[in-house]
Symmetry: C2
Subunit: 674 residues, 2 copies
């Protein structure tokens, strides 16, 4: 590359972009780790985007109608941090850049949502950002339809690398965005032809232009180092009626000795390389130094949206008081005041009707109430609508001609669905939930982890939660999945036992502002186990005494979901034999763990033998069987110790020994009275 020619063509632009490149070199050298090449390669594109197109106001980073900028290629985090610093975000002073990748800094190795304003999502695991962006763009469409173009009208811009495009989830995202014609989604492909192992061609020869076109995208290209060409491409993309991909031909690690090589992908830390590269840029300043004239140009860019932001505030003030309040409420993730009473009314009704339904059906019954009260819910399923019971009567199908539709046909794309839901929750104003078979949490897993890591309230409706799925067999029967979900920090896994617990679980899930929830729901019908009306949400306590022992308390049965009724049956058998047996329903281990010790001891007192019953693996149960004063060690587990099988559900329960009889036998054995 002839850097001088580039510089001479547009010196103002060049120096602004050079500031990004120099900060990147300094920060990576300072941290002695990181990724220099991508920010150095994409600095021109980002500069043009921020200067000429991105609608934002650095002084009001949370302005709801800002354009969103998603750095899908998250390893290039210094690109984002540089931009936030240069444009004057208060939370990104130069000290943060100097602390890149250090303990307590906002500038983590990869962008972490919540660390600093301006970081719209956590990226790093490749493909997630581009898949989130579909959710951002969907949220924009839905809210625009609801609140009007004067309140919601912005673009979602994404920078994606070759890694993002090789990950399968990108295909799910691309196809979904193309199908939904998300015309305000614009993806820049950093076409630098390099990955960690070498040139892209060692692993991929896909024609990305054709691939995007095949899924209904507009495709543009540009010289990623020519500001005018970049500007032209963005202008064209903004006019498209389809989502747009702009292929940006760039040079990774531009201007360094490692330019256009895999070495350039990683950390350039050699002082000589850093010095030579800066010299090649014509950058004569010390480490972390940005001269005042360049910084002030960048700060002007950071302020350029201020007027638009003020005009937006005026327009917002012109909305009806009700609309304003609603908009503020949903952006704040607050629940409508009506919800608690509606859930209570439902519970009261169940005490009367004692519905014997599958908990997936109970979930639908709860959603019928919730979706009517909460205009911010957006449901969907990965092509299992009738099985997941995720669609309620009043949710229209979201489509090009019905942007008010709040139900999304995600297609057979669990991963893309989960990532899109993350995007909607991050955008704000939407409470997304989506369903698939619980076994296929496996497919959605990378995005589900990010829901937890980011701390965002996405609700996963995972039905067919055990061998109770029956004939579809072991490929479709979760066995280890409850343990896996519970092992994940900062998330709640609910396995409600009946319609009442399901309604309560939904209420608790919706109350969360900073945690995702998984509802593990049954295929098969269950009897109502909660006979009396309780005002209190018992699921919120994680576990509670469902049936007390009669006579001397000799045994405690702890169960979740469909196995709670098995426990009650076992209790009947044991009580008939004079063995006082308490049944504890434990719909959410994580919440029970958070209860005061006094409450936990009251639910699980020392003394009686303990048997847990759950049609999954034992892992995670020892805490309640052997810990929590269960130190007698007189404990057993009734569940699965391997994969399932294909047969009718009731046969499987019998064959795998998850029955009231087997449970009662365990208790007798532990009591030494078999």
């Amino acid at each position: 590359m002839n850097l001088e020619a580039l510089r001479d063509r547009n010196p103002d632009h060049w120096m602004k972009a050079a500031a990004i490149r120099a900060l990147t070199l300094d920060a990576v050298a300072g941290a002695n780790s990181g990724h220099s090449g991508m920010p150095m390669g994409m600095a021109d594109v980002a500069t043009v985007l921020f200067e000429k197109h991105l609608k934002f106001d650095a002084a009001n980073p949370n302005w709801p109608d800002r354009d969103r900028f998603i750095l899908s290629a998250g390893h290039g985090s210094m690109l984002l941090y540089s931009l936030l610093h240069l444009t004057g975000y208060a939370q990104m002073p130069i000290e943060e850049i100097k602390n890149f990748r250090q303990w307590g800094a906002r500038t983590a190795g990869h962008p972490e949502y919540g660390h600093a304003e301006g970081i719209e999502t956590t990226t790093g695991p490749l493909g997630q950002g581009i898949a989130n962006s579909v959710g951002f763009a969907l949220a924009e469409e839905i809210l625009r339809a609801r609140y009007g173009k004067k309140i919601v009208d912005h673009f979602t811009y994404v920078i994606a690398g070759d890694g993002c495009l090789m990950e399968g989830v990108s295909q799910e995202a691309i196809a979904l965005a193309g199908r939904q014609k998300l015309s305000k989604l614009i993806v820049f492909w950093d076409n630098n032809n390099i990955t960690i192992d070498g040139e892209v061609s060692i692993a991929d020869k896909t024609d990305q232009i054709d691939r995007f076109r095949a899924s209904g995208w507009s495709v543009f290209d540009c010289d990623g180092h020519d500001p005018e060409d970049i500007d032209r491409a963005i202008d064209a993309a903004k006019k498209s009626t389809k989502p747009s991909m702009i292929a940006c031909k760039t040079h990774i690690a531009l201007g360094s000795a490692a330019q256009d090589t895999a070495k350039g992908h990683g950390a350039l830390t050699d002082p000589q390389v850093v010095a030579d590269t800066k010299a090649a840029y014509g950058w004569k300043y010390g480490p972390y130094e940005v001269p005042a004239n360049i910084k002030s140009q960048w700060e002007e860019i950071g302020r350029k949206g201020a007027g638009a932001q003020e005009e937006w505030c005026a327009r917002f003030a012109g909305l009806s008081v009700t609309k304003q309040a609603e908009f503020t409420r949903i952006l704040g993730r607050d629940l409508p005041k009506k919800l608690p009473a509606a859930i209570k009314a439902l519970k009261r009704q169940y005490v009367e009707s004692k519905p014997k339904v599958a908990t997936r059906k109970a979930s639908e019954m709860a959603l019928e109430v919730i979706n009517e009260i909460m205009p911010e819910t957006v449901g969907g399923s990965a092509d299992l609508t009738g099985s997941n019971n995720t669609k309620t009567a009043d949710l229209g199908i979201h489509d090009i001609d019905n942007r008010n539709g709040r139900y999304i046909h995600y297609g057979i794309r669990e991963h893309g669905m989960a990532a899109a839901m993350n995007g909607m929750a991050l955008h704000g104003g939407i409470r997304p939930y989506g369903g698939t078979f619980m076994c296929f949490t496996d497919y959605a897993r990378p995005a589900m982890r990010l829901s937890a890591l980011m701390g965002i309230p996405v609700t996963y409706v995972m039905t067919h939660d055990s061998i109770g799925l029956g004939e579809d067999g072991p490929t479709h029967q979760p066995v280890e999945h409850l343990a896996m979900l519970r092992a994940t920090p900062n998330s709640l896994t609910f396995r409600p036992a009946d319609a009442t617990e399901t309604a309560e679980a939904w209420e608790v899930a919706l109350e969360q502002k900073s945690k995702p929830s998984v509802l593990a729901l049954s295929r098969q019908g269950v009897p109502a186990v909660r006979k009396d009306y309780k005002t209190k949400n018992l699921v919120a306590q994680g576990a509670y005494v469902l049936a007390e022992a009669e006579g001397k308390r000799q045994a405690i049965l702890i169960a979740t979901g469909t196995e709670v009724s098995v426990a009650l049956e076992a209790r009947d058998i044991l009580q008939a034999e004079g063995i006082g047996t308490r049944v504890v329903s434990m719909p959410c281990m994580e919440l029970f763990e958070q209860q005061p010790e006094t409450y936990r001891r009251r639910v699980l007192p020392a003394g009686p033998v303990r048997v847990a019953i759950e049609a999954g693996v034992r892992q995670g149960w020892d805490q309640w069987l052997l810990g929590e004063r269960g130190k007698s060690g007189k404990a057993a587990f009734v569940g699965m110790d391997g994969f399932g099988a294909s047969a009718p559900a009731e046969v499987l329960y019998e064959q795998f020994g998850i029955t009231a009889q087997a449970t009662a036998a365990k208790v007798r054995e532990l009591l030494g009275s078999k």
Copy 2:
């Protein structure tokens, strides 16, 4: 559809295909569950494939050079079962068809590998079969290069549906196959335009033809109900120098009232519908009845490869004795006799050199020995070769011009890599291993579960196994992953502590014939903890006493991987204070669990307080802390209780309190002597 016209055009073909359709209707009706539509739609394609093209011999189902038939759309299992029954596979008598989806039957809801010969892989989770098939085709290329075209020369045929093609993993598979020009891979796309939720277009408008072409495939199409057109398309595909996709225009649930509808996807069980549909086919026979003339035509198809099979045996007998023995050995998943001695020699060497290396580096050192002795290993990485240390010096890069290459650049495709490895292991003759960062087991998870469910010896080399990864931050730091892996039945998770344990872990992993293994390996260097040479493979016992207490044994520290050296340091501190402390290294919980109780008690005797140290979540540890006679409850855990952070590794260990000092403090606290 005018079924009569179809029948009249080719009555022989029609009746053979009708037999598949009728058996499907009967079996689904009998089970009162299942998927009728796909077998009914694809019966013509399958009939032509089996009759005119598929090289197989029903009497010798495991003939190594058979063509492979992969039913990626696994819900259409009755298509496969019908074909196996009709062509005369011994393990698929009519009784199995009658027992479809029942306890103990070979005919599970979805095809399960190992249930019956002729089921080449387990499918049902969508996209897995097509992604497996890339591994099958790669294995064929590699073995053909090694043993010659006379011994290995077959096609891999796949039937994939819209669900398979919507799943992101299919893109990873398609791109990898296109890049590797796997010309003997032929995929039939069942283009029926229907998914569970409705028409494909509600969720997808991707032009699949363009999409496959963009990744370097040949694309053909055919009328999926016209046998001549199908035959022509297959002929053309077989001649292509690229992988081929044949778009088969079909009608789901052909001839039934539910034809071309989402209802037709599922179970057609209504007796009238079944009767009417059979009548429309001109099928006049009772349930499960196939008239002799049709059955005998099918059986002839089942025998048509017998001659080729015999000729193959003759050619095989012509190989050198050494080659024959090797081929037989690798197909039998037997280890070369030299391996144990070579591992022992390596261990002996380590006792001398006491290498202080990261266990990922130790894995490479073991692989240098293994790969030289085992020509059947095929390594690779999802674009992290230098970080995963998966490439040894003698492995050439597999490529179009180097089919002898045993190292595969999978690209940034963890899921596709895992599924391809499953395919290679299933094909036979290959022992695949592949690497990525352990955090990204999340991406590979659906295929990893299938390795375990199928019971096949794939080895996952998962490096950067904790917060020890450092600055890349929480998105890249596994915390819950050890628990998740250990929760998965029928798999082994190893976390070796040093070079010696890593060599032993590799040996145990390779000894497995029916289980996958995960090696969780460190980024950071560790000291040698095994000082003395032991002939015995101690890792094979799962856990063992690494350092005995001096004086009265008051505490047992249990640790894995990089935390074993932390435990040894803590022991030094405690012993200096007169607290007798044993250190147990536990590189594989699953194997320890399988040891006799006497051994387990010897390693973890009752009495001393117990502290486990692992830089992950506690879940899974209570079994060893509170169970196994640890009933005093005097136990504690030193590890993580949330996500990690971005900072240098040593800072993170300090900040999260995973240190020798913190461990010693826990012991003192438990002993009441703080």
